[in-house]
């Protein structure tokens, strides 16, 4: 075989590759690129792989980030490129590492609520909820019905908030500027709702161990209902704006396919896993906060490509809206925190009349409560996947050890797999659809 023949073979191979990629039915890269051992590009791949046919080419390492809008935070990627094709991706993270887990060990359980939402700053309520649920399991605290219902509402609104940012910035990465403004219109309304309920637009820290920090303001459920109507209209707009847009579909279909067995091997959870066809959703499978009593569907897609991952978020809007509607109907007046004075602060007015209340208040604020010795883990479903706080208690008023199961951190491993064999522009698409939050990655 002469050199020219080899070149022709290479060209042909590349054309087949391109054809395969554009055929939505075959919808996959050649199988040999899909080996699970995606970590290392072999010498063989580098020397005899799909090198440029007629030009002298060599492997090039390209640095992306850490400060770049399309990396969704502070993520640095070193991309080994062969012409336009990605051979290997090496993410470097840790730029946002602030040692949350160590900080938890030196703060009381109740103070930890401040740190939990700062990990995943787009779906803050997921981490907050997961943290308080773990501590409540340790304490066997009784959360009142009203608090649980409000938690469900905020948890789902937070999921919508995160997905809205996904829709806006994800499309921005693909060069579509308009959806950003549409999505952020609804996002602003959502943040107004969060602000109304607890005073913060982000990083709320509204939940408390045993309930909520305070009750929702009057008229808030009506505000949420109005928002849901606006949101439904918004989802329709996003669907017509980009989900049915042929330019967008060409950019996303068949790009970065993750088959279900690989997705499970890589530990993916959340919409990324459901886009590969595995119907794993902790709201259904490991229900918390009474999710088993709500009527909603777990949306999956068999495709596993970037388009499926985009659509997954759009479909989940509808399910979240359904859950919030049901929760709003269940909202009844009542207490919003555990009546146990060893866990919850006494009501303010009692401090003026009851010495006991003052003592409880003082003990809780200065020292906090002492959960029994034990190790607990409560999985919850955030917008990104399974969030869980593995909390070890040694009987003290501060956790002995807190390990955050951060879905973005694990999901990011899919990048190294899904990008191999894709073009550089596809890398941005894949990174956008995997939707990591770097605060969640680095903690």
């Amino acid at each position: 075989m002469t050199l020219k023949d080899q070149d022709r073979t290479a060209v042909k191979e590349r054309e087949t590759l391109r054809d395969l990629r554009q055929d939505p039915d075959s919808g996959t890269l050649p199988r040999r690129q899909m080996t699970p051992d995606h970590q290392e590009s072999t010498i063989d791949e580098r020397l005899h792989g799909r090198t440029g046919a007629l030009l002298h080419t060599e492997m090039m390492s390209l640095n992306v980030g850490p400060q770049h809008p399309s990396t969704h935070g502070v993520l640095r990627l070193v991309v080994d490129m062969d012409g336009e094709y990605v051979v290997k991706v090496t993410p470097h993270m840790g730029y946002l590492h602030t040692g949350f887990e160590k900080t938890f060990e030196n703060r009381t359980y109740q103070q930890g609520v401040t740190y939990a939402p700062r990990t995943d700053y787009l779906h803050c309520f997921s981490h907050e909820l997961s943290y308080v649920l773990s501590v409540e399991k340790l304490l066997q605290a009784e959360v009142p019905e009203r608090a649980t219902t409000i938690r469900v509402i905020l948890h789902e609104l937070g999921r919508m908030h995160s997905h809205l940012v996904f829709v806006g910035t994800g499309l921005l990465d693909l060069g579509a500027l308009t959806p950003f403004f549409y999505a952020f219109r609804e996002k602003e309304s959502l943040q107004d709702l969060f602000e109304a309920v607890c005073g913060y637009r982000m990083n709320q820290g509204y939940f408390r161990v045993g309930g909520l920090s305070r009750d929702i303001p009057d008229g808030w459920p009506a505000m949420v209902s109005r928002f849901l109507v606006q949101m439904e209209k918004g989802v329709q707009e996003y669907t017509t704006l980009f989900a049915n847009n042929p330019i967008f579909q060409d950019r996303a279909r068949g790009v970065g396919i993750i088959p279900p067995d690989v997705a499970l091997d890589l530990g993916l959870t959340g919409p990324n896993l459901r886009a590969s066809g595995v119907p794993l959703d902790n709201r259904k499978d490991n229900p918390y906060c009474g999710y088993e009593t709500y009527d909603f569907e777990v949306v999956t897609s068999p495709d596993g490509d970037s388009l499926a991952r985009f659509n997954m978020r759009l479909w989940e809007f509808g399910e979240s809206i359904k859950i919030v509607r049901q929760a709003l109907e269940r909202l009844r007046p009542g207490p919003v925190s555990d009546p146990n004075r060893k866990i919850s602060l006494p009501p303010r007015h009692e401090l003026e009349t009851s010495m006991e209340a003052v003592i409880h208040h003082f003990k809780l604020v200065t020292e906090g409560f002492h959960p029994p010795v034990g190790e607990v883990y409560v999985p919850t479903e955030s917008a990104r996947g399974e969030v869980g706080y593995y909390i070890v208690s040694d009987g003290g008023s501060m956790p002995y050890r807190v390990k955050i199961r951060a879905p973005s951190f694990v999901n990011l491993q899919a990048l190294e797999y899904a990008c191999v064999g894709a073009q550089f522009a596809d890398l941005i698409t894949i990174l956008a659809t995997i939707d990591p939050v770097l605060g969640d990655v680095d903690r």
Binding site: G94, D285, E375
Partner: protein, 280 residues
């Protein structure tokens, strides 16, 4: 349509058949019905340990006291028979593992058996969710060894969850689970970085979260907490104590930032302001 491989489908069918004919016939075990396993809390108030299983049917409660303060109400009941489809005691017996007395279903694994056990679990369709590194140096109760590594294993179809606990001495390496689950890649790198456990057979064991020039493993209990004097690249040296003195206004401080402005000195370093009539 079930898009996962036919193998998994087959397993699912088997479990369906077992559900219909097995001893648990009639029990709802489909994932949509969302079975909740009652939380098992173990109160280790010095040996012997008491296993407490909350059961709403039996409203007997005890006050669990810890450190003199009564905390939480714990409903007490006799241990329920393992009829739960998510129960993993059968699985643990199958793999020859001993159960750890923990609130979560935890199995003790010897370090040399870890990979073999993991492979057996992978063959049964389990996935790796998380890896937790633990340092029990200052724990209030005696533990077998200083370190523990917990692998959080989960079955995505029948939703069983199992924690594999491996006890380790300081400096004792552990077999990496990367050859079994690719998910172990970053998870083990994180444990290596923050806890200093070395994983044998990991292809790319580098630091992942902390900066390259940080020595030590921050999540170890003997990692010093506190302030460090910092020398910046531009030659500015920051001593924490002097810095704090500067910002409280007691001394001029080494940074000269704000402290002297507040006391009416250092006008030559006032921040630039917009001139009258807008920018020229």
């Amino acid at each position: 349509m079930d898009p996962v491989t036919g193998k998994n489908d087959g397993q699912k069918v088997t479990s369906e058949a077992e559900r219909l004919t097995g001893p648990d016939a009639g029990r709802q075990s489909s994932p949509d019905q969302a079975q909740v396993k009652p939380a098992q809390i173990v109160v280790r108030a010095d040996p012997p340990a008491i296993t407490v299983t909350p059961n709403p049917a039996l409203p007997v409660t005890v006050e669990v006291t810890q450190g003199g303060a009564a905390v939480g109400r714990m409903p007490v009941a006799a241990p329920t028979p393992p009829a739960d489809p998510r129960d993993v005691t059968g699985l643990m017996a199958e793999l020859g593992l001993t159960e750890d007395d923990s609130a979560e279903p935890t199995a003790l694994v010897l370090p040399e058996r870890l990979r073999e056990v993991a492979q057996a679990l992978k063959a049964r369709g389990f996935m790796l969710m998380d890896t937790v590194g633990l340092d029990y140096l200052t724990y209030t109760q005696p533990r077998p060894k200083r370190f523990a590594v917990l692998h959080n294993i989960y079955h995505p179809r029948d939703h069983r969850r199992l924690f594999l606990r491996v006890w380790l001495d300081e400096g004792q390496p552990l077999d990496s689970l990367y050859p079994v689950w690719k998910a172990a890649n970053y998870l083990e790198r994180e444990v290596y970085d923050l806890m200093g456990v070395e994983f044998v057979g990991h292809p790319d064991l580098r630091k992942v979260l902390t900066p390259d020039d940080l020595e030590g493993h921050p999540l170890r209990k003997d990692f010093p907490l506190g302030e460090t004097p910092t020398l910046f690249r531009d030659g500015r040296f920051l001593d924490p104590a002097a810095f704090r003195a500067g910002v409280t206004g007691q001394q001029s401080g080494l940074t000269g930032y704000r402290g002297e402005l507040r006391r009416g000195r250092g006008e030559d370093r006032l921040p630039p302001v917009m001139p009258e009539g807008g920018p020229k």
